[in-house]
Assembly symmetry: C2
Homo-oligomer: 392 residues x 2
């Protein structure tokens, strides 16, 4: 991706961004970002982690976006500001209020997103100095958007940005996240920006619908972060109000694009695995079954080994909370039948899974019409390596 590509959070008119090094990450890499909506409208929507243990910035941002408006988002990487008690809440408030004073806007119109280690207090002096340094550097250039996308990275190996062209309007965005995906990453953060003019209701519904079938179908390790946040900011700067259908399609496309980028860059991933389940009573049961398979470590290790060990699919799905006929389960790897009627199909052991993308389809044999899919990854040496040495 060349540095002048018009993608990311500044692709839409009327958005400025910045990313700088505030000294939060020990590496010295950039770690503080701001996205500012320059108006004229300040519509906002948000979707947050389902984890009951939530970080201070999630608590703050839920309140900030509750009235459907935001003027800015403050991001930091290197510290999740989670499990820091009331001190964490105070630190979050202080940093947002400092940015609010600097920009001359109300603090309750600013959301906060943090990602990094849980249980360490924010280095407030560095954070406040960083805000002082960053705020004047806010710019609407493509580079500024790229800088923001880079500053929110943790163990991400590449920055993640997206762009969807509407008819006279634009939807851009950035994301980060690499582990802990369910629906979410070792904190998944996403910020979408658009110059379309839309109502808060349309924004929230479009975001919720898109998240449900993109980030929420991504399950790398069954872990769900304390900090996951997906925000959408809309300013109407294009003067165009797209149809609800067109807007929802654009949000879905942007979320799907970022979800693909997140899955491809998941910690230690060598395989991208899509698991589709059919033949059960409901879509919800199919999703539960697909998740059960996607979270099974023995299955994930087999995928890492390019091993068409379909028996692990059956062993995993047998524990799922879904209607099934245990004697009539069928499995396909890359569209080749490996198990039909709960029995191995000829040539099953010879199916080639050496490619980076593996398609798994499972029919639970009840004749029911439930269907769902999840996307997951393999379980690799690198995953263990990265995650056994995170905080030390």
């Amino acid at each position: 991706m060349s540095s002048d590509t018009a993608t990311g959070v500044t692709a839409a008119q009327g958005f400025a961004a910045v990313g700088i090094a505030a000294g939060i990450k020990p590496s010295g890499n950039t770690d503080l970002a701001i996205v500012r909506n320059l108006g004229p409208e300040y519509t906002a929507a948000g979707v947050f982690t389902r984890n009951r243990v939530v970080a201070s910035p999630v608590k703050w941002s839920k309140k900030a976006v509750a009235d459907g408006t935001l003027e800015a988002v403050l991001f930091n990487a290197g510290n999740a500001n989670a499990c820091n008690g009331t001190q964490g809440d105070q630190d979050c408030a202080q940093s947002v209020e400092h940015l609010a004073a600097t920009l001359g806007i109300a603090a309750d119109r600013i959301a906060a997103c943090s990602t990094g280690l849980i249980g360490e207090l924010l280095p407030m002096q560095r954070l406040l100095s960083g805000i002082d340094q960053a705020a004047p550097a806010l710019a609407a250039s493509p580079e500024a958007g790229h800088d923001a996308a880079t500053a929110i990275m943790t163990t991400d190996t590449v920055r993640k940005e997206t762009l969807v062209q509407g008819d006279g309007w634009v939807l851009g965005g950035m994301g980060k996240g690499v582990g802990m995906m369910a629906p979410s990453l070792a904190t998944m953060l996403v910020c979408l920006t658009t110059d379309a003019s839309i109502s808060q209701e349309v924004a929230q519904q479009a975001l919720a619908k898109a998240v449900a079938v993109t980030f929420n179908t991504l399950d790398v390790d069954g872990s769900t972060s304390t900090n996951d946040t997906v925000l959408l900011l809309a300013n109407g700067a294009s003067g165009v109000t797209p149809s609800v259908e067109a807007f929802e399609a654009a949000v879905l496309k942007a979320c799907a694009d970022l979800a693909n980028q997140l899955q491809a860059d998941a910690e230690g991933v060598t395989k991208r695995v899509r698991i589709t389940v059919t033949g059960t009573d409901s879509d919800a049961q199919a999703l539960a079954a697909a998740r059960t398979i996607g979270r099974d470590n023995l299955f994930k290790c087999a995928m890492f080994g390019s091993d068409p060990n379909w028996g692990r699919v059956l062993a995993a799905v047998g524990m799922a909370d879904a209607a099934m006929d245990p004697e009539n389960i069928s499995v396909w790897f890359n569209d080749q039948p490996v198990c039909l009627g709960s029995t191995g199909a000829p040539g099953a052991r010879d199916v080639d899974l050496s490619g980076a993308d593996i398609d798994v389809r499972v029919d639970l044999g009840t004749g029911g019409t439930g269907e769902a899919f999840v996307r997951t990854t393999d379980l690799s040496h690198a995953y263990v390596e990265i995650n056994s040495a995170y905080s030390s």
Copy 2:
């Protein structure tokens, strides 16, 4: 363990065993075992996998033990005979019937246990020849018991046997299993033998109670095998009928001993982790919370890295189906507080987790009296290595 130690399935009077190489394992190692109860009583109890996808030998054994009697158990390693359809059922029946004819007993008084790869048909010629070779070699010696315990190993690195001395009676046993523990291993098989004289009701209740707090609290990777089986055979050869309390205590002790051996030899394990959860509404909720933590790959990787990253405990438990106060969760590693009131405790990052045993205690802060524990292991490079190359 010296070869003449009187432990294992032949430790009790009136039990014979054998373990031979039938050529089922590609390695040529021993892979076929028989345990025979020589009477005078033939009391039996069994506990089986909760997986809905069950292997042919599990279907057979459930029926065989349904009347509370067994005279023999046929074991093979190297092939699970799971997901082989009606052919698998027929192969299981044929092998048991062959053993029955050879021993001159009824086939419905023989249980079958298989462990190994799912979805491959049993090599029937080798299996039947193996039975012909093994049956005449049945012996009541300690060595014969050890041979049987060795023959049922798959990726186990050591054989697992136990012995509990009663007052005038003995309870011995063997087990195998190394992955897929939940409650169970990449097939967990256990066979206990006793010369106590007990009723089927006492046997079944003692076994069910012991399994619930031993094997069922062992959770290596959340996977549950299609083949898990725990059997108890009692022949009254000692002439002693112990009290129900004494017998239940012995079965519990034997199961706990084997469970410890299984945990210690789990695939790729470098840490044995015990997770206790308190402060929630019920024991069932506490168990659900402990399991959620014990299955979290990010937590397990931290344990592998001896990393006191307590934030992962909170992130994991926040998704558990258990009552909790998200602002009042506390965590202890090896009895040292690392998180109090959902906030890091002083010195939390310096807690020493370098030992092989790690004790984790979590209080969910509701003041409720629910309490439970699970035992799990770390997630290591070796786990990935072993499980990415199992069938290939």
